[in-house]
């Protein structure tokens, strides 16, 4: 198919450049209901994204289409003609496609065990954490191996094979008067049953806490400690607009050297992007990925992002990454928790609006620690001003490694409103 696409693109007189993205997916999936297997699925697909470029002096037009099946010569010609036609009206400022070097490939080691055997073991590891009153009412395990190959008309030919296991687990607790649950998502690059067992046990312990949780009383302000995914989401929101795309489209007015924290009394933030693994070596344009620091010690030091927008800004393309990386702090979580605080265990979703300065969210489970007692609490919201919070943020020296994030596991925001 690749050869057919390349030949057709190369032969078209109006195509001045092209990009092919081939994605092969092999995914094994199992779905458990009330700790019993309900459905198994297997996905074996090969799909192509095709982008044609039509350069005209200082302008370039592009148009993409998607191919998911073998096309006849005539069908393919029609698709390319249609894309070429549309591309002539897309008069973007000209830029060059990524230039190729040697053909290269990267591969994460394949699991030597049958994926369904691994899935079965993972399910058993989760279910082993159940107690007479708590279990996983739903568990979904996705074992995914994706092979992405990128070719373009300037000689790029790169391939990477990436694997991961995603788990959605619903720990549930049946109390005498009420039943509660939490939604937990895990993503693993490697199968480490110690980690999986710890995650399962923590999920079951958390849902027992939710059952025990009551309303928060007489707390109008509190220091809030976020952890894991919420910390990742917080950092992600902070730097999202600092991409080349964001700068070019003016979604940010921050410039290199501008502080993102003011009147700092707490930790200075250092945040960037990294490939998710050594094999995750290039982005969808074929830009080779190397870690990039976006914010260093509280100051914007670099932008990041796609080949097209980097060229528009006269910068070196950094690429589009999948893993956020942040520098850890100096404070242990034990010290962080010494003063009264609210430790958030489950939010429905952290809400951050960097333009209005809003940060907050509905708390599904937290532990309120007033210095004397630790009480599980639920059914309230916290909110505050992000700029104020950034001036006195504390990062834990304990770190976490997730597929999408590596960095401090805990982050403390001071003086949030509680309602």
């Amino acid at each position: 198919m690749i050869r057919q696409l390349m030949n057709a693109l190369a032969a078209h007189p109006a195509v001045t450049g092209w990009l092919l993205n081939e994605t092969k997916t092999v995914s094994s999936q199992a779905f458990y209901v009330m700790q019993k297997r309900e459905t198994t699925r297997r996905v074996e697909t090969c799909e192509y994204g095709v982008t044609v470029y039509r350069r005209d002096g200082d302008f370039v037009g592009s148009s993409s289409f998607f191919v998911s099946r073998r096309l006849t010569k005539r069908e393919l010609a029609a698709k390319i003609d249609e894309a070429v036609y549309a591309a002539q009206f897309v008069k973007n400022k000209a830029y060059d496609l990524v230039e190729g070097g040697a053909k290269r490939s990267w591969k994460e080691p394949a699991d030597s065990v049958d994926p369904f055997v691994t899935i079965d073991r993972i399910a058993n590891a989760f279910f082993a954490a159940a107690t007479p009153v708590s279990r996983f009412n739903a568990l979904e395990v996705f074992h995914v191996r994706t092979t992405a190959r990128i070719l373009n008309s300037r000689g790029v030919d790169l391939t990477k094979a990436i694997a991961k296991i995603d788990v959605e687990a619903i720990p549930s607790y049946d109390g005498p008067e009420r039943k509660v649950e939490l939604i937990r998502q895990f993503s693993y690059k490697t199968v480490d049953f110690d980690v999986i067992r710890r995650d399962a046990e923590e999920a079951i312990a958390d849902v027992a806490l939710r059952h025990a949780a009551g309303a928060i009383r007489d707390v109008a302000k509190a220091d809030v400690i976020l952890r894991d995914d919420d910390v990742a989401e917080f950092f992600d929101n902070l730097i999202a607009d600092f991409s080349y795309d964001g700068v070019y489209r003016q979604t940010t007015d921050k410039k290199i050297g501008d502080p993102i924290q003011k009147d700092v009394q707490g930790d200075l933030l250092t945040i960037g992007w990294s490939p998710s693994s050594k094999a995750d070596a290039f982005d969808r344009d074929g830009v080779l990925l190397a870690p990039v620091r976006v914010v260093e010690a509280g100051t914007l030091v670099s932008h990041y992002g796609s080949n097209q927008y980097a060229q528009y800004l006269g910068m070196k393309p950094a690429g589009v990454f999948g893993t956020l990386e942040a520098a850890k702090g100096r404070t242990s979580v034990a010290v962080m928790k010494k003063k009264p605080h609210l430790e958030i265990i489950a939010l429905s979703g952290i809400q951050i609006d960097t333009y209005s300065g809003y940060i907050g969210g509905e708390v599904r489970l937290a532990v309120w620690d007033d210095g004397k007692h630790r009480v599980p609490v639920s059914g309230f919201a916290f909110s505050g001003n992000i700029d104020k919070a950034l001036s006195d943020v504390t990062l834990s020296r304990e770190t976490v490694r997730m597929v999408r994030y590596r960095g401090p596991r805990y982050l403390k925001l001071k003086d949030m409103d509680i309602l």
Partner: protein, 468 residues
């Protein structure tokens, strides 16, 4: 747009029928769901234009079998005579991968014989890429010219053409329909203060959608500029009046997810124990269904091959029904409601909402505003998150307008994050307006994944909520 059912799927029908017959000799149940969705998203902002495939674009097959013990599905984009044995072998390998965890007790899906094909074409004329880009460019330029505060504006239209086919031993269904989603976005800045606004809607006429996009952009720019003076609301409990999008968000997040009956099977929904009981103010009635309204989720049959329904969920405050996919309905001993939907052919079908809304009431909007002592009119959906088992709620509106003593004060707040307990919110509804709108531009995840297109809406509601 071709204006007709996929030739490709048509060409595959004989081999799929052969596959279904072959699998029927080996398994208690066998079906093939085939999909060919094409579409384009054209987007223009002040500096760039893009023409990319619609996010819904896909072409592939799901082969589903039941071996008397459990269900198995194989997703592929290759079915042909040459590889038929390979497909059968892949399914047999999948079925053999039993593992050590016991299976649920479930039977073979029961289906009534049905052969039917459905067609719903784009109304009005279609547009060439040149016409579309020119029109979007003029809308963006108009927005940029309208105020020096506008630093960027984006106009886009996503058009999709859907062909789906469902074949089993007794069913032979085909459907073809189109939809388009225009969107506008404006970014404004004044002395380092940046704000944005957006709008989106749906139509099955590209012509009509593009006709309305200019007006949508004008509204978006005006709102974005107004938001430059917005502040976050002071946390507290307020009387509110919702616009139809926030009404829809409440219907969707607060209650819709809770009546997705695959959640009943998993004991994940409190609603299971509330059938026939009051859950909302008597002023509230709610429906969901691909046949309940004409919008983005108005298909003719779902991804399980079940015909579209119109399901009443709440009738004057009483919970009367839920929605289901075929497998969940089977497990619960219910009739499926045509709500089995997949994010794509590569994903499982779950019970999903379609067009979800509260029904119209009798109050006048102006009277509802006049009845508020201190509160907000809140508008434009940003996001929401469900909690079907514990009935927590989080709904975020893009902005709110302050009301004091029954009149708008001119003060605007943003963002407005509402949270609380679903039943408290639904029972606090004290007025339902005569206005009614279902907005067909949304996407919905189940938990944090499995995105499908949905619409929601309804009238304006007066309720009491926690904002903070």
């Amino acid at each position: 747009m071709t204006g007709k059912f996929s030739n490709y799927l048509k060409s595959k029908k004989p081999v799929i029928q052969k596959l279904v017959a072959l699998l029927g000799t080996k398994f208690a149940y066998a079906s093939v769901f085939a999909t060919d969705v094409s579409g384009t998203n054209v987007a223009v902002d002040r500096s760039t234009t893009s023409v990319t495939p619609s996010g819904l674009t896909e072409c592939g097959f799901v082969i589903k079998v039941f071996d008397g013990v459990a269900y198995a599905e194989y997703s592929t984009n290759t079915i042909d005579d040459k590889h038929l044995d390979d497909v059968v072998a892949a399914i047999e390998r999948l079925v053999a991968a039993k593992g050590t965890v016991p299976t649920v007790r479930v039977e073979a899906l029961r289906e009534e014989p049905l052969t039917k094909s459905f067609v719903r074409r784009n109304r009005g004329r279609t547009f060439t890429a040149e016409e579309t880009i020119d029109l979007l460019k003029s809308i963006v330029q108009g927005a940029l010219d309208s105020s020096s505060l506008v630093v960027n504006a984006r106009a886009s239209i996503e058009t999709t053409e859907v062909s789906k086919m469902f074949l089993s031993k007794v069913k032979d269904l085909e459907q073809y329909y189109t939809w388009s989603n225009p969107r506008s976005f404006a970014l404004v800045r004044r002395e380092g203060n940046t704000k944005f606004a957006y709008d989106g809607f749906g139509d099955n006429s590209v012509e009509h959608a593009l006709d309305l996009l200019g007006e949508s952009m004008d509204k978006t720019v005006k709102l974005a500029i107004e938001l430059l003076d917005s502040v976050p609301p002071k946390p507290g409990y307020y009387d509110i009046v919702t616009d139809p999008s926030i009404t829809g968000l409440i219907a969707h997040e607060a209650f819709g997810h809770g009546v997705e009956m695959d959640m009943f099977v998993k004991d994940r929904a409190a609603a299971k124990d509330y059938m026939g009981k009051p859950v909302a103010s008597p002023l509230v009635s709610m429906r969901d269904g691909a046949a309940s309204a004409f919008s983005v989720a108005s298909y003719f049959f779902d991804d399980d091959g079940v015909l579209a329904h119109d399901t009443k969920i709440i009738d004057r405050g009483i919970l009367v029904g839920g929605i289901s996919d075929a497998l969940s309905a089977l497990q619960l001993g219910k009739e499926p409601t045509g709500n089995g939907r997949r994010e794509s052919y590569k994903r499982k079908a779950y019970t999903r909402m379609t067009n979800t809304f509260f029904e119209q009431g009798t109050s006048a909007f102006d009277d509802m505003i006049a009845s508020i002592k201190e509160g907000y009119y809140i508008a434009v959906t940003n996001n929401g998150m469900e909690d079907p088992k514990n009935w927590g709620i989080q709904c975020t509106a893009h902005y709110g307008r302050e009301i004091k003593d029954g009149t708008f004060t001119g003060k605007i707040v943003s963002p407005v994050v509402m949270s609380g307990y679903v039943i408290d919110l639904l029972q606090s509804i004290s007025a339902v307006s005569r206005d009614f709108e279902v907005i067909g531009s949304g996407s919905c995840g189940k938990g944090y994944k499995e995105w499908v297109r949905v619409s929601d809406g309804g009238p304006c509601l007066k309720a009491k909520v926690k904002i903070g």
